[in-house]
Amino acid sequence: MALLEATNVHGGYGGMNILNGVNMTIDQSDIGVIVGPNGAGKSTMLKAIFGLLHVNEGSILLRGEEITNAEPTVLVGKKMAFVPQEKNIFPSLSVQENLEMGAFSRKDDFAHMLDQVYSFFPPLADKRNQPAGELSGGQRQMVAMGRALMIEPSLLLLDEPTAGLSPLYMAEIFERIITINKAGVGILMVEQHAKQALQIASKGFVLAAGQNRFTDTGENLLNDPEVAKAFLGG
């Protein structure tokens, strides 16, 4: 059974629909990458999956269970985590407190996850008592991902995890995402760096005007001349 199955999703911010029938299926082993022009509805789709936006039509299933329009608190309980595109840290809280907030829903001891996040993102270990708002852009992105990992998610939604990062940093973040995925976490992420992201994608979704334009493996999309011409800059 698929980890996440979104079928014919329609939804918007109250007024007109932004999503006009999006379909996405992600397995536990997948890294799914959503690409597409600005304003295509990529972020909106992730928000719809995470219950931050009303879905008017269609359905979203997590391991076959209906989660359409479920509250984020409920989804976190089902081991789904989301890293938004912007404002994805608590700036005045320390790095460690940011991570603790990720684990807010956990009633068990999560100290081992703190250690794991610090060994996964070594730059954070030295800055654990520093306010997260004082970190560099790349380090903030690490805090944001670390916060999401604290629940040991089975599905991780990432909105542009490499936005504004240097190519070197970007490669490093992708490396981390592959590691997380290999540890058994299904990944669905939006990426502006379409070519590089599709290289690590097992599934790719090209979104435009709130609809799937192309859906295939990352490799096939990269090699599709039509996709290349219209969406990957030639």
């Binding site: 995470f50 984020p72 608190t73 976190v76 404002k87 840290i89 809280l93 407190e97 807010f104």
Partner: protein
């Protein structure tokens, strides 16, 4: 020397007393603002309400205090705080939460809190009348006169029992609040929600619980301030009228959203008030022979009746010159 004692009594001790009251109120306003993003105008009435709860309890069990050796109203304070906290939660449930659900603009909730102010004032007058009442029923206020060990100081420092208890309450409140915000899971969640409410929701923080905790803290602090002030002076139904402007000024001076700023702001406003109504002629009297002008018998910056204008002018000044407050808070 006696002039200095006069200054200590009328400026330092009075400033500390009223500053503590303002601080307790302003911290609540700042916390409510940082979690719920609206200016809670009914806050001063929650202070009055807390004092009335303490008064009721004192009237019901007047013998408790004398048995322990503390003012009865002070012994009843924890219960009054709990009652005020519960009232605050229900006021939120009844009046503010439905508006939040509809995603109204903050100004609409501010207006609702003005409505709650009028309602609470009406209710309090309905049950208690309009006269001033003493919080001491079967006991009486202890006043300490501390003689200073100086030859020239024939007048004593004067401090009352409720004033000392007020300082104790303030210190305990501030330390507990600090520990709560920095050490506990819910306290950190409160700071997180103040920082980034959307991310708090995404992280699975139970925002309803955080809102409730905020009302509990604000309600408890308000009840403590109202009760301690009424113990020291008297309990009047129009208490809130005199408190509203100063506590808002204190919260804004400190930087809205900043609990420690609100604390500092409370004392800034408190001391500004006592300094400006202080009769400076008393301090200058020993030097009258050296002055180039005739010393009038009364020389205050602001006449006592106009004390309420002091926080108002400080508020205006801070909004013009430093709208984020001393501690860089959010702009209201």
């Amino acid at each position: 020397m006696n002039e200095l004692v006069f200054f200590l009594n009328n400026v330092v001790i009075s400033g500390l007393v009223i500053g503590s009251i303002y601080a307790l109120g302003a911290v609540g306003i700042t916390l409510i603002f940082s979690i719920l993003r609206f200016a809670h105008f009914a806050h001063a009435d929650m202070m009055t309400l807390g004092a009335f709860f303490a008064f009721f309890l004192t009237a019901m069990f007047p013998a408790v205090g004398p048995a322990i050796g503390l003012p009865t109203a002070f012994v009843m304070l924890p219960i009054a705080m709990a009652l005020t906290a519960v009232t605050a939660i229900y006021l939120d449930k009844g009046f503010y939460k439905p508006l939040r659900k509809h995603n109204v603009k903050p100004i609409v909730i501010v207006m609702a809190s003005l409505g709650v102010t009028l309602m609470l004032q009406g209710l309090i007058r309905m049950f208690m009348g309009t006269s001033a009442r003493s919080m001491y029923i079967d006991d009486r206020k202890d006043i300490y006169r501390i003689d200073l060990p100086f030859e020239l100081a024939s007048r004593p420092l004067v401090i009352t029992d409720p004033q000392i208890l007020l300082f104790v309450v303030l210190i305990v409140s501030v330390i507990s609040l600090h520990l709560f915000l920095t050490r506990t899971r819910l306290g950190k969640a409160m700071r997180a929600m103040s920082d980034n409410p959307d991310l708090a929701r995404v992280s699975g923080i139970n925002t309803d619980t955080v809102v409730k905790v905020t009302w509990v803290i604000a309600g408890c602090l308000a009840a403590a301030a109202g009760t301690m002030l009424s113990l020291d002076v008297t309990l009047k139904p129009d208490l809130s009228f005199h408190l509203l402007l100063p506590i808002f000024a204190a919260a804004i001076v400190g930087g809205v959203g900043h609990p420690y700023g609100a604390l500092a702001g409370g004392f800034v406003i408190g001391f500004a008030e006592t300094l400006s109504v202080f009769n400076w002629a008393v301090l200058l009297r020993p030097f009258r022979d050296y002055l180039w002008f005739d010393l009038p018998s009364s020389l205050a910056i602001v006449p006592t009746e106009f004390k309420i204008t002091v926080p108002f002018f400080i508020l205006l000044a801070i909004l013009v010159w430093r709208p984020t407050g001393l501690f860089k808070g959010k702009v209201l």
